[in-house]
Amino acid sequence: MGFGETVAATSTQHPEAVNITPERWQQVKSVLAEALQLDTERQRQYLDSACAHDDDLREEIDLLLAQQVDTGNDVIEECAVDAARLRLDHAANKVGSRIGAYKILKEIGHGGMGTVYVAERDDEHYRQQVAIKLINPGLGGESIRRRFRNEMQILADLNHPNIARLLDGGETADGLPYLVMEYVEGRPINVYCDEQKLSTEQRLKLFTVVCDAVQYAHQHLVIHRDIKPGNILVTHEGSPKLVDFGIAKLLDQTGSGATMTAMSFMTPEYASPEQVNGVSVTTATDIYSLGVVLYELLSGRLPYRLKSRVPHELAKAICDQEPERPSTAIGRNALEKTTAPRPRLHADLDNIVLMAMRKEPQRRYASAEQFAEDIHRHLDGRPVRARHDTFTYRAGKFIRRQKIAVAAAALVAATLLIGIIATTWQARVARAERARAERRFNEVRQLANSFVFEVHDAVSNLPGSTTARSLIVQRGLNYLDSLARDAGDDRGLQRELAGAYEKLGAVQYTPSVAHLGDFEGALQSHRKAAALREALVASDPSNRDYRRELLDSYWFIATLVGAQGDMTRELEMLREQLPVRHELAVSETTEFVDRYNLAGTYGYLGSLLLEMGDVKGALENQRECLRIREELAAIDPNTARSRRALTISYEYLGIVTDRAGDTKTALELQQRGLAMREALVAADPLNTDLRLMLIESHRFVGDMLLKLDDVERAAEHYRKQLEMNRDMVAADPLSAQFQTNMAVALIKTGDIDLRLNRAQAALTNYNEALRIREQLSSASPQDRFARRALAEVRTKIEDVNRGLRGKKSGP
């Protein structure tokens, strides 16, 4: 059979099957694509308007829409995904292909869960080697993917020099989830220690660094779940790095874990009793695995003789068998193998290792920090906390003491905010304020039990973090109020309480960052903080921190007063701050905090003046702000911080410049900001704050272009902005801030539609924005921004409708 015949075969037409023309199909397709973006109700509304005078079109679309099936039943999609997977699996060598923005360089690992590659991000802004895990997708549906994304966000926030960072991730368009991690070139910690012939003391020191990293992750609510030497790599510089933090859980959520048991997932030698029993995993699980790693580092062998890998036998050994003391194990090891003889281990080290490895999670070290502390005590020759686990009365006493520590430590892990208080509380125990501490302890414990677990579960199971944060605020407030009542004249505690109130207030309501939309609550929290801080400044007027923090409280209150409608008062309050801000800024040395604050105050005053109609005043203030920030960019070694600040100045100065009539210069400023923000996002792709800022930049550049009649380029930026917004809302549908931005994006897109004479499309966008803004406004009725925004979109809709009516009734 020749080649020509087969080609001819496909070009055979089947006219009887074609009931529409290519032109008609294009029309059907574009309406269909739009409709597919909308939920059922909006879809109906959209179709009602889009097919208003074309019943055939509507029928055609309805027939096609009726073909939609659930993700799990989409055989056509499955065929395509399977085909891709077969090809990718077959590809022994995927080098050269791309995943997202990354180019695969070589394969470095292959396992049941997927394949690990070294890849390179290679764009104009950024060049970096990374490790990419491409995960074999399981049976997961949309909700599992959403959880995967949430979990990923939590992991992305881990930023510690000894933890390999999660840089990026998501799924390919085919739904294969992937993770982009910092690529660590190093040796497993046990191999490294042996190769470098490290002494016991050096091993211990290296190990405490690992503990610090684990502690950090625990404070961020992340449990590793698979700590083993292979996941603790030591670099050429001798710095240990934990890899795959929290990945076990993440993978579990994609459904890839569905086909395997939790055990086959873990490396059995390092698995804790609760893991092999399938009981819930806590931070104590990591402590256990750390204990096994230390056991191995010190003795050169593993604690249990595992005869088989049959799950229930493994579980039995891990749960019932008492590990030999590491010091004894060494002796035998020296006989068995001809490794270099090691000095006999101190009995303290035995106790430390075995304490970390206790069968009952609550009897281990309460935190990785305590674990490390005890090692430091040993290194310093001080008595260690770990005791040989023999006498029951001792154990009993110990458990009682430990319970307190467990509660407090669990609290530390819950949030930074509450953590501060818990630390204070522990210090007070040391000061032997017994009676009060006892009562406080009960509060802490109550909080630890309900709060930690509720919050943790909420964070890991809900579609967005907003609900979880609401819960934190509620619980946090109750707790802070009770503490404030008897803070007495303890300055340290007062200051920490004020800080905690401020954080709560910021979460409750802060214009322009993610918040919960609780306006009244926020004002109250900031007033409580201010009252505490006023008392502190009065008690010690020379303290810079007290003064700065009081200004912060006033700032928050001023912005809230302003948001409520009294802008004149807000302006006054902020101007009153300037002398003190200046004074603090000029006497500043290293941290630049006060200079950033000073710049911020000018910038904010500028925006306020602009809103009040004083363009000239606004320009002056924004220029002063930019001047200070440019200065900072030259001296602050933290370039991410200084650039972020600069982009804010470009944005605001751009806005004012445009208002002053110079749109061209304004466009240049906005474009400068956009470029800088793109680079910032490229360097830190999961940073919500930066992404929000980039979205803003697209909007402003779009605005300026539109104003300069470059409709097409403007539309490009608006599209980009709407796309980014939809991603944000999809990841966290309950966030008021994302919803707010979404409404703006829809309106801008609607405006463009109008410019291009697509009134119906504009109306669809405006209506979607209207629904969002109605919700937002009813959630916080006092917010004048929300009210005004609602009115704005209503006006737009009326205008369009009037225009449409005008057309219909016109000649």
Partner: protein
């Protein structure tokens, strides 16, 4: 007729650089190689061995193209052609098989596995082919997207590379093509 690896690679690069004639030379080479590979599989059938058309495409690539001399676009383009060719091989085979079945022959050849890849999902290959032919008259690009995905095993991103359109557009086109195909296939079944 070119057959060497260098020859194919050169044609591929030339086509990538805009030389349309190179494609005409390239297609028969790819087609023959794929068919040869398929035949090879058919005659060396091992029990339990599943022939995967997409794997075949990949193998053809490894055989025909000097990977050091091509860039990603060339590679994607190769898969583009191969996918189209694979579709033809598979359809021709399916027709042949049905004819043999009608005549009472037992069929035991291994491309069955490739076909069952579709059939186990109740996708009738002949019907799919017909539907794709119809779609080609309405929207050739959409047809190509489906081909690349089904028969070439390309991902959305890779399809975008081959066709030089954005992944978002590819996804949109793919989504509507899917609905169209599903309707076409379900009407046929009735």
């Amino acid at each position: 007729m070119v057959s060497s690896q260098q020859g194919v690679t050169k044609l591929l690069v030339a086509w990538g650089d805009g030389d349309k004639a190179a494609l005409d030379e390239l297609m028969p080479v790819v087609y023959d190689e794929l068919r040869r590979l398929a035949q090879n599989y058919l005659s060396h059938e091992r029990p339990g061995h599943t022939l995967q058309t997409t794997a075949l495409v990949h193998e053809a690539y490894l055989r025909l193209v000097d990977q050091k001399s091509v860039n990603w676009q060339n590679r994607a383009q190769f898969f583009g052609i191969a996918a189209q060719m694979m579709r033809r091989i598979l359809i021709n085979y399916a027709k042949e098989r049905n004819a043999m079945k009608r005549q009472g022959y037992a069929t035991k050849v291994s491309l069955d596995d490739a076909i069952s890849f579709f059939e186990k999902r109740e996708l009738d290959l002949a019907a799919l082919d017909e539907a794709l032919n119809t779609l080609a008259t309405l929207d050739p690009q959409q047809t190509q997207i489906v081909e690349l995905r089904f028969f070439g095993g390309l991902t959305i991103e890779e399809v975008s590379e081959v066709l030089g359109i954005s992944p978002a557009t590819t996804k949109r086109e793919w989504d509507s093509a899917k609905l169209w195909l599903r309707r076409q296939l379900s009407t046929r079944r009735q």
